[in-house]
């Protein structure tokens, strides 16, 4: 039942998205624009600074993620559909998981465009350890979205929600950014530092477990009016 509800919520979000493709297009374009802006700051005499690729990649993901989170819940607010979802006689944590999966999938699509682009523009060896890189990206995205989905859902009712989301989200998700950037930078070295990347991956996994659990636990009291 739980998984079925989560699946249905996710499918609803994806169906809406597939029909308009608004969030995917705008978020991908925003992420690419971010990469270009950072390129002007971090490329010197035609060569990127050391570790710039990993940093640019994760900052673009975080910025684009905030945009996607805001838009996804703005859509729910527009015709009070979030209230309708909350009124449905199903478990609230299942709704949260459904929303989370939708956001994670969306961000993974953005990353699928972003990562090769960063690799191309900054000569980053993304094929060094592709599986480990994918694992870092997925676990980082899950951690970022776990906190983001909860806060964005709460902020639907709040005033000045567009400003509040980044203010709340960035301080909390700093460990994800640090682990993601450092882990990816370790992989992008000429001789990939696999142990280091694996250690950061473990930290990200631990972060995901703690924050998904905490979100599931607090979603119910937080969404009750």
């Amino acid at each position: 039942m739980f998984l079925k509800v989560a699946w249905l919520v996710m499918r609803k979000d994806l169906t809406v998205e597939v029909r308009s493709r608004e969030i995917v297009y705008t978020t991908v374009f925003f992420a690419v624009a971010c990469v270009l802006v950072f390129a002007f700051a971090l490329v010197k005499e035609g060569r990127p600074l050391e570790d710039a690729a990993a940093g640019i990649m994760w900052i673009s993901v975080a910025f684009a993620g905030t945009l996607a989170l805001g838009r996804t819940f703005e859509r729910e607010r527009h015709s009070e559909t979030l209230r309708a979802l909350m009124l449905a006689p199903v478990s609230r944590p299942a709704i949260y998981v459904g929303k989370l999966l939708g956001i994670v999938l969306l961000l993974l699509i953005v990353e699928a465009v972003l990562v090769p682009l960063v690799g191309l523009l900054f000569h980053a060896p993304i094929w060094n350890r592709p599986l480990l890189l994918i694992a870092l990206l997925v676990s980082g995205t899950v951690g970022f979205s776990a906190v983001g989905t909860l806060f964005a859902a709460m902020l639907v009712r709040a005033r000045s929600r567009d400003v509040m989301l980044p203010i709340l989200l960035y301080p909390i998700t700093i460990p994800v950014i640090i682990a993601g950037v450092r882990g990816t930078a370790a992989l992008f070295e000429a001789v990939p530092a696999v142990d280091l990347a694996q250690m950061w991956l473990a930290l990200l996994g631990f972060f995901d477990v703690v924050f998904v659990t905490l979100s599931l636990w607090t979603f119910e009291p937080l969404m009750t009016e």
Binding site: A158, M164, P171, I174, L214
Partner: protein, 219 residues
Amino acid sequence: MKKSYPLFVLLAVVLFSVAPVMVAQAPYEATMGLVQKIFYYHVPSAMVMFLSAFICGVASAVYLFKARPEADRIAAAAAELTVVFGLIVLVTGPLWARRAWGVWWQWDARLTSTLLMWMIFVAYLLVRRFGGPGAEKLGAAMAVFGMANVPFVYVSVNIWRTIHPTTRVVPTLSPGMRGPFWFCAIAFMLLFGLLLAVRARLEQRRADVEHLYLLADEE
């Protein structure tokens, strides 16, 4: 409780006027000399900051799950005090670092995690102030997540090297320094307790006034 406030205020005034004398008489540290005296204000403020953050996190969790308005008032008061004492830590720290390490700021584990924790509580205050109706719950979630975040921030930043002295410094202090240090720590704790009680009471009064307005409107 209310009647004992003047007594505690007096006690705090006495402690804070005696503290500089005790600090002045404490022995000089061998390598850092006079600058090391910042320690007597820096470390107690940091202790109070962490205590206050912890109180805020626990009170927020109680508010979230038990929906008790008192807990929310304590959390709000503790968050404000975390920011205030955190500011003392973040101002005295660089002053000391400039002389001891030669730089104002180092991106080491303890500094970075303290700054981040401070930012989480600033965000808490911002969301309470500008979040509109229902912002208390948002703030409570921020405090609970912020508390859960502390170990992660610490571990993740710790992998860069640390030059900040660890907490093991305190038990190994020389006897001449130990007295003034604990005196200052007690003074700061007392001040914190007093401010927390007064601030939580103020919130309580505000809630009472609001309630009376509502009653008057209904009539």
